[in-house]
């Protein structure tokens, strides 16, 4: 079972999503190690929580997401140079934005952690500047469109592998990547050669975008 029972409403699309998920997981079990599989369970769980917020304005789902991510977002803001009270204030703002934008989240293109990172990063930059950070055009899913479940699962596996790969980096290199994302490095100091498996994620998202474009045309 991919998702623990108490985390999933076994109804309609959710149940079929889980069946699709099982099929995908079976197919790649051979190349997934146990750690990665464990991370996937977590990721599928968070995706279901964000969906519950978007569809049902589910406050208990929000509370659960909050308990896990709010302390991390706050830590991110503190590492980025905010003091305690600014970090708390800004974190609450980020989490409120998560509630408001939950319907815009596309699980085929970003893990929940990635999506929250982009909200926190933008909020941080907006605090430093007077005006909003320029962001690419949104490619929203319409109300009846849903991302392909196989895409979602595949991206979850890739994201889990990426998290795992970062943990296995030499300490010095891992610190450098973290510093880049805390805004500690200027753009001339950033070396994009991370030695991490970003290529698979990029190809995966590229395919999801093709499907999205196709469904919009």
């Amino acid at each position: 079972m991919l998702v623990p029972n108490d985390h999933v409403d076994q109804t309609g699309s959710q149940a079929s999503a889980v069946r699709d998920a099982d099929a995908v997981v079976r197919r790649c079990r051979e190349r997934c190690d146990q750690t990665v599989a464990a991370n996937e369970v977590t990721e599928a769980h968070w995706v279901a929580r964000i969906t519950a917020i978007a569809k049902d304005e589910d406050k208990s789902a929000f509370a659960e997401v909050f308990r896990h991510f709010a302390p991390r977002v706050k830590a991110f803001l503190i590492k980025s140079g905010a003091d305690e009270s600014l970090a708390e204030e800004c974190m609450q703002d980020v989490m409120a934005t998560l509630w408001q934008k939950a319907h815009m989240y596309d699980a085929a293109r970003a893990s929940v952690a990635t999506w929250i990172f982009t909200i926190a990063r933008n909020r941080k930059i907006d605090l430093i500047r007077k005006n909003a950070r320029p962001e690419p055009e949104d490619l929203p899913w319409g109300p009846e469109e849903q991302p392909d479940q196989a895409d979602v699962l595949a991206l979850q596996q890739d994201s889990a592998r990426l998290t795992d790969a970062i943990r296995q980096l030499p300490e010095k290199q891992r610190r450098l990547i973290e510093r880049a994302y805390f805004g500690d490095l200027t753009h001339s100091e950033i070396a994009a050669e991370t030695g991490l498996p970003l290529g698979t994620i990029k190809s995966r998202i590229r395919l999801a975008l093709e499907r999205l474009r196709h469904s919009m045309s």
Partner: protein, 215 residues
Amino acid sequence: MTDVQHQIPDDLLMGYATGALPQAFDLVIATHVSMSDDVRSRLAGFEALGGAVLEDLEEAEIAPDSLEQTLARIGEDTDRTVTAQPKAGVFPGPLRALLGGDTDSVKWRSVGLGAKQAVLHADKEGTARLLYIPAGQAMPEHSHGGMELTLVLQGGYSADDGHFVRGDLEVADNDTHHTPIADDDGEDCICLVATDARLKFQRLLPRIAQPFIGI
């Protein structure tokens, strides 16, 4: 979506993902990303790295009533409407959002010989401007005090390092001597240009004129 040939290099794209770039660069890159699904997926890769860093952070202590305060912020009326797809036009979403419209909403200033520009953003870190170069015409020769990003929005141009058309991004630095010539195919060239320092013109006259025209 047809994909662009000259894409932003990884280090600048990662800089955008981490938020390390001047605002003028952010505008050019957000616009470039909007024009290419390849670049959009490459950006998503660097953002995934940010997500993984966030996930692995040691938790900070949050205020005891943090969740209640956040729920109070949310209020009762959450707007779940989906943003409409931007209308077709020359300018992609980020540029249109800044200008409040397409090409007809630009306040151009003449910089001579039919060329025009409009400064969209300027701060101590960098400047973003739109440049309008009539078909077949050369821009004044210049080198760069810093880094320059040029994104083609309409028409095309040729420079020492290649031919650039809509969606293409050219990165020029200190060592680039630059004489772009707009394609002579009847379509005037419009570019979005970000610089992180003033351009230096090679010829005497434009060098004198530079402080006045603000290129």
